[in-house]
Amino acid sequence: MARIAGGGVVAVAVGMALAPAARADTSNFEMSGKIYTKYMYQNDATQGCLSMSNPFWVDNIGGHNGACTEFELNIKAHVGPKVEAGVRLQSRWGAMWQDWWENGDLKPGVADTSGESLGMNHAQYIKLRGAWIRAAPPIPTVRWVTVGSTDYSMWNEWTIGKARYIDRDNGSGVFFEGELLPRKRLSYTTGAMALPKLWAGPGWQTGLSGNDPLARLYGTDWAFALKLESRVSDELRLRFIGATLRDWEPDRYSPMLTGAPDAARGADHSVALATRFRGYNGTLDAVYSPAALDFLTVSAMLAGSSNFVNPDYATNMVRNGQGFSPVVFKLGSNGTPVSSNGLAGKVLVELADPLQVGLSLKLEYFNIGSEYNAVMGARREADVLLTDGIIAGGFTRGGQLPTLNVANEFQDWDEPWYESCIGWKGATAVAEWVRGVLRVTGEFTYIGYNTNMQGRDVRNQYPNFLYTNGFTDTTAFTADSDYANVYDRGKDPRSVYAENQDRRTFLVVATAQYAIPGFRGATINLKGKHVNDRDNRILANPNDDYEGKSWLGMISLSNQLTNELRTFAGFEYTHWSEANREGSEQEGFHDSRTVRQTARAGFTYAYGGALFSYMLEYFHKDLLRQPYYFDMKWNVWRSKASLEVSW
């Protein structure tokens, strides 16, 4: 032991005696690991293990040919009876097996034999992805205090949505949850969360000077939220969620920033903050399940949003970004910036087999204001409406979200797609009939649009995302060098505003699942869907009307051959007939027709904690546009396999 002057030796010895002994055992540890390997093939000239990577800042991990592996280690510690902590460590995704050796050095734009050119994206380094501490202090009403990483799933899609899977622990904050009244009569959750600098604000950022010359500060930006829940009775549950987003910038005219630090000028070595973006979102929802009518559930929700952008600190991306903006830059009648406000509501009535004949009904009314926008709402992997929606296909699933910030990126070709439902108003009726091994559903949805308007200002205020009409082909969507689908410009899934719109849509969906008797786990799945989408555009011009009709038919067979092996195969046919799909008011519009056949087959094999899956897809697509433009066709083979082992 090092000698310390005076009584130091004694003091250290006493200190060591009082300190908890370091323990070599792992009884207070939980560790779990996972190895995930993905293989991708496509008959094209790309390489990588991610179908659509970052569309804006093109990176070097997107592509369709390659095999990649990542490792994840989760450590959870039971520090004491009232304190827990955890971390997630994971290797960087992006290195292909073919890379062999990349040490993390980057030569921008260069791929050479040095093994030192592709940067950290290909170096498989282990990164701290998430860290959190959770404690239950003896404070009245408080059940848990959490500090650190979280996926924000304690709120909802209309306010602050659950972070998408790839961002699941990028967010951090401080959270309190507890009960104000016993027996869940009134419980609360409140938190402050660091705003993500990359997407939660005007221009998809909160103050990055490289992207927005009017802004430069993001470390001061936070979101605050409060949730109150009450189980009023066994039949009625109420919930309120309120959230505010605060993106601040230094007041550029603070005396400290405009001249000499002279007290006579008012400079006092402090810099005030000015608002760049301020958002409010709130929801009040209720679920009523009367005991006397146990087949009935009624859910209702009312939401409101208010978003203010200060154009002094946020570049107007409607005007300067070709209409690509996750926020409205609204102006008042005198040309000054004002808040963009919107309300939304929906009511869902569910009747679970009320007649005891296997027939259930769901009826939903929805009315989402033309300017409701949850800037930090769920961006994907959620669905707020009952309807199958417009964007969902047969193999490709989909959902609707009340935000302009929908993110169909960093995903593979077999993953769901999401569309913005801002401005939608209408109703959905879904009937389900179950009889033995047969399940049949039918849906009818009518959608009107609160966004219908003539002469909307899409040059300065309302983002139109450039492409406002046409079915979006999620199967053939590309992100080679541009976010939008460069070969088949359908509607951008985020586009809800158009300069001239008079639109209505109805859709009919029917599905059936039939478990074939005598064949173990064999099920036939059928889906048929028709969408009729009409937009009269300029009311005074009968020649510019868009009318899209889509028909979809899908059949697939899945079969659980053994306890470990499940197979599936299917076929999907899609036909779109679209009048006046492409063009402009100045040059006129032109018709197009799309025919696509897609075949998929694959299997999953689960054995002893390992899960292997493989899927092969072929699609042929004809886009018929002559005579105004050349036709295009696709003959695409692609596959995706994964092996996942967790322990």
Binding site: T141, F176, L180, A192, D221, D251, T258, A260, L273
Partner: protein
Amino acid sequence: MRALLQAGLLALAALAGCGVENLVGSAIHKDFQRPASVIRGAAPWAGATISQITVTDADGNVLAPFQQSLENGQYELRLPSAKYAMLVVHARVGDMELRALVPSIGAESSVSGVDLDALNMTETLITEARLSADGVKLRTLTPATYVATRVLMRAGMTSAGPTQNLFLMVERLAAHFLANPTSGNPDPFLFRVPALDSTFATRTGSACGLPSGVACSAIDAGWIARNPFDYTGGGCPPSTTCSDSAVFDAALGAVAQLYRPAGCPDPNHIRLIFTVDFNQGALNGNCGVVDRFKWATDKPGKSMFLAAWIYTLDPPGASDITDQNSPGIAALFGNATPNVIPMYDDGTNGDESAGDGIWTVTFDVPRSSPGHLLRLGYKYTWGTFGAAWTGTEEWPGNGRLLEVVDVNGDGFVYRRDVFGDEATNKDFSNLNTSGTGSIGWTTALHGCGPEAHEQPFTLHNACACGSAWHTPTSVGPITIPCGP
């Protein structure tokens, strides 16, 4: 309820540190106004609108206020905060243009009383006439000298005499125009900028872009011919009205001889101009390309500053002029504080060409004389207001030298340097390959005279002697008020 209160307080306390401070601070913060140089005055005609009023610099370039207003006959123009000199406020009122001169405005300051009336119009005409006759540009005027001359002109307008007579003519003409409908003519008929020759006679024809024989008068010849008008109050004998501008022109020429807005050379002060070349590729004293960011770092928002001080080291020799015998001179240079004396590359404040990478700052300092020399140390910094030396200065330690002597006798001491050049004018650790590592007040490394003096220079090249002296045209020498 108590539990709710406890939980709320606890949550607030715990969330402090997660942006709650900003939430509170911003709730009471009202955004600061943009710093401005503000001009205010009266627009005393009926139906005045702000769109009628513009402001130009001394060269006639339009300046754009970032905010402007007009209420109850009072206008306000908010220009970006800076130092301005010899501005002209214009008001187009029908077929007439009224003008008023603003000798100077500082950064974050205001000037009031710039009224667009007959008084200011008369003063402006006298000034324009005199400068025209002397062949002097408005931008070369020394504001303090002009202000002193203005006092004399105003006094003349309030007492009987030729100046008051001229003022009364202007007043009658302005009133007449305000009472008459406009013709929509693109050029004003009244109060054009007069052009006079050296004898104070009104020029004619091509001298002001008019047909031969037509007077370059403040009054449009065609208009007065079509609209005879008694602007003198006694007619233009033998007529009881005036159908040409001859009487007015003669009066203006006579009055212009009474005042000298440009003043006379100041025997005791001299205008000192520092200019620094910040262009990439400029050559240093060894004829090598200067590395501007060898010591300084670059980032958005930076601009050029000068830090200077009274030189006290001996050797090579301290300044004779000091803060003790010339109070305030150290503060004039910012007391050697970095990043507080801004330089300009926007065509203002003595800068000759906007955006050319040559940054300029001017000072009015005591004139040196034998045995009474002003010696300065200085260096340039590429920084932001109030920033420290590190990362902004040309080099650490050492400085440049300047003996403030008007070598070529043009009324200026004009210094040109290349930013970051350690091989020309640097007192110690001088890297000039033909030098000794240091320079004094007489060291000459390039055959252009002492490095510590003003020199002829070659553009973007600190290793070649210039072929001719440079006399700035964007600003004049210091003058003082003097008689006609």
